[in-house]
């Protein structure tokens, strides 16, 4: 039975990764799961310099999901390179670094720094809804997305995954723009922008007012967008949005994702990533599927 998948020339031992921002840089969850069991670890977004992030409250639970407005707090690329990458290098798993910035130059600086590292792929976060300085605009306008993608591709030494925002009218337009600009893969969905109000205090539940909605609540939107994006482009799509079980993951694979990522559900079940990987194997065995590739895009039209 083959669970390996190849994305932009990089081979993953299985199609299960972590969603950026939900798994730290792997260290915290290594208390719970053997990182060697994962296809890949996608790190928390990193910028050229440390970011303070947003004020608290930064998180709020919602029905079947949660809102976050961390604001991409991160220790900066230096610390990632000195502390987190060596930690991850101990494991037999692919390392994808999620890159964020406030300007194109910020992104390019991080991408260049990573060029000299052993990192397997870069994921470009142009879709964080919680940062004021316009990073999200890169992910909500096709021409901006095209521009930043092509500029990053010129500098990047590793394959580039563009992470798309679901807060758009037409995900296929965004997917095509990224592909046309040379992106090697897409990942989606980032969070849906949401809001919660505390009716007793009459205040916003998050200091940032709005936050990104994640968790099983949004899975149907994610599956739809993955299906649409995967059918609109030829580059591989990494699917995410509410995945907490192998059943969820297989739904994304059938919709057309070449790999999947577990995000908020790590908080609900810290063993989720490994359970998803194992559950996919159980499913394959049950249905006599020899190669996970048979599942990718396998929904009957």
């Amino acid at each position: 039975m083959n669970t390996k998948v190849k994305i932009a020339g990089v081979e993953f031992k299985n199609p299960v990764m972590t969603a950026s921002g939900t798994f730290g840089s792997g260290m915290e969850y290594s208390d719970f799961v053997d990182l060697n069991r994962l296809g890949g670890v996608v790190t928390k977004g990193v910028a050229n310099v440390p970011w303070q992030g947003n004020p608290v409250p930064r998180v709020a639970e919602t029905y079947g999901g949660m809102l976050n407005a961390i604001g991409l707090q991160n220790p900066g690329i230096d610390v990632l390179i000195e502390r987190d990458l060596p930690f991850l290098a101990q494991f037999d798993t692919r390392v994808i670094v999620n890159v964020c910035g406030k300007s194109v130059e910020d992104y390019l600086e991080v991408v260049e720094r990573l060029g000299d590292t052993e990192v397997d792929m870069l994921e470009i976060n142009v879709s964080c809804p919680n940062v004021k300085e316009g990073a999200i605009a890169f992910g909500q306008k096709a021409d901006c997305l095209y521009d930043i993608t092509s500029r990053i591709k010129k500098k990047a030494k590793q394959p580039v995954i563009m992470k798309l925002s679901p807060n758009v009218t037409d995900i296929t337009e965004m997917a095509k723009a990224a592909e046309a600009a040379g992106a090697d893969a897409l990942s989606l969905i980032n969070t849906l922008t949401g809001m919660k109000i505390d009716i007793h205090r009459r205040t916003f539940a998050l200091a940032n007012k709005t936050g990104g909605l994640s968790g099983p609540a949004i899975k149907p939107v994610a599956v739809r967008m993955v299906y649409q994006a995967a059918h609109a482009v030829k580059i591989p799509v990494i699917g995410m949005g509410g995945i907490g079980s192998a059943e969820d993951a297989i739904e994304f694979l059938l919709a057309g994702a070449s790999a999947v990522a577990v995000g908020a559900m790590n908080f609900v079940n810290p063993y989720a990533t490994v359970e998803v990987a194992e559950g996919i194997e159980t499913y394959m065995r049950k249905y006599g599927i020899e190669d996970v590739a048979e599942l990718i895009g396998g929904v009957k039209e």
């Binding site: 915290e28 440390p50 998180v59 976050n68 707090q73 790590n266 908080f267 609900v268």
Partner: protein, 260 residues
Amino acid sequence: MSKQKATAIVAEQRRIAPDIYDMWLLTDLAKEAYAGQFIGVYPKDGARLLPRPISICEADREGGRLRIVYRIAGKGTEEFAGWRSGQSVEILGVLGNGFPIQAAGGKQAVLMGGGIGIPPMLQLAKELKAAGGEPIIIAGYREGQLFLKKDLEQYGKVYVATEDGSAGIKGNVLTVMEQEGLAAEVIMACGPMPMLKAIKAYGAEKQIDAYLSLEERMACGVGACLGCVCKTTHKDGHSHVNNARICTDGPVFEAREVDI
């Protein structure tokens, strides 16, 4: 034992004050639980996904039992209040760093608990007494339902403050310090933010170390999501900005470290 998500069994539960519940859980996590640490308790209702951080009120390490005393603050804790003996429930733990028992060595410790910040003072008082201390405990309540007071009295002298004056001294934990003429050499506290701010100021004025247990909305509970940060006076070693993770770097911080 590293952190884990584990199944615990409800040994017993009872209501000890309006909206305040006292639950004993059978779990091996108890074996390495210390004062000031907490566990995440998962609602069974799938609509509510995140673990609720609840401080450890007592840890019976030999018996493998943890006691938590919590207030109904929403639908999650409302569900917990309905749990009955024998039921199996999911918990995450043991989380966070507790109070530094050694910091009280040879010093007069005053423990200050406010409202639902009182429960962790019980395990703390127990550990301090076991270490040879004689802690003074000040428990600040809203009104006269003095939950855990008897339990606390096993481990030290207990003073009571109530906001409405219906029991003990009318006022807060610091009113007690003043009116009873108490002197602390080290303070350890848990309670609402205004109380902790006042204690930080008090400690600074009197030049006393004060260890404060902070609270914030949490998601992962294990330091990954960066949801529950507090501002720190200096750049934090992990984050490289002035933010520490309450769930992992805390929840207990020396007052001077945090900018509250």
